[in-house]
């Protein structure tokens, strides 16, 4: 399980059976100092989250187990919305303490 920042949403109209209705979101994994760790990836959101949220997620077979239908081809799933992440006395969920996607016209909500 890891920490990540949700950076966007994915739209896919044709799905593998069992994945209908599961939100797919782009996440950027974060390290202990709140900096990006590795590449961004797509995760199935099993709780209601959106761009800008700090989340925790799981990879591997357990990701599919978190989905409503558990025999589906998913290898990363958002498990929870993080309200506070206290790391050596610093709250990564507080504004400005962890990496956030730079805001641009392309990422502004409609």
């Amino acid at each position: 399980m890891y920490l990540a920042r949700v950076i966007g949403r994915m739209v896919a109209t044709q799905r593998y059976p069992g994945l209908e209705g599961v939100a797919l979101q782009l996440i950027q994994p974060l390290d202990e100092s709140g900096a990006p760790m590795g590449d961004a990836l797509v995760a199935a959101a099993t709780v209601s989250t959106g761009p800008g949220d700090l989340v925790h997620w799981v990879d591997g077979r357990e990701a599919a187990l978190a989905c409503p239908e558990t025999y589906v081809p998913v290898d990363a799933a958002i498990l929870g919305f993080v309200e506070q992440a206290d790391v050596l006395g610093r709250d990564l969920a507080a504004p400005g303490n962890a990496w956030e996607q730079p805001r641009s016209a392309a990422t502004e909500p409609h």
């Binding site: 399980m1 890891y2 920490l3 994994p29 974060l30 390290d31 202990e32 100092s33 760790m37 590795g38 099993t46 709780v47 209601s48 925790h56 799981v58 990879d59 591997g60 077979r61 357990e62 990701a63 187990l65 978190a66 558990t70 799933a77 498990l79 929870g80 919305f81 993080v82 309200e83 506070q84 992440a85 206290d86 790391v87 050596l88 006395g89």
Partner: protein, 109 residues
């Protein structure tokens, strides 16, 4: 399994029902001699560990489900399962918790 330092806690009010009521910890995985290794992880606490403890951590789904008794469908993977008292590497004792210093933030890159 890997060795890790506990750096902090995670509070997640909205999460998978399998994780309700469980404590989540932020871990810094380490090499046997105590240098940072691998990626920062979030783990479920099974033993009552806190910030500053050096712990043993499981990173495998079936073992995690067995330890937490979630049944076959629990989406759990990383579980803190032990406190580390000492690590002996070859002829040297590379970690002894009685002489240990608490983890410090990593230097800025």
């Amino acid at each position: 399994m890997f060795i890790a330092d506990v750096l902090g806690t995670v509070v997640a009010p909205v999460q998978s029902k399998w994780l309700d009521g469980r404590t989540l910890l932020v871990l810094r995985p380490l090499t046997p001699d105590g240098r940072p290794a691998l990626k920062t992880r979030v783990a479920i606490d099974k033993i009552g560990a806190g910030v500053g403890d050096r712990v043993l951590c499981l990173d495998e789904g079936n073992g995690g489900r067995q330890v937490l008794q979630t049944g076959p469908k629990g989406p759990v993977k990383t579980v803190v399962v032990g406190f580390i008292d000492a690590v002996e590497l070859g002829p040297r004792i590379v970690y002894d918790h009685r002489a240990a210093n608490p983890p410090q933030p990593l230097p800025k890159k």
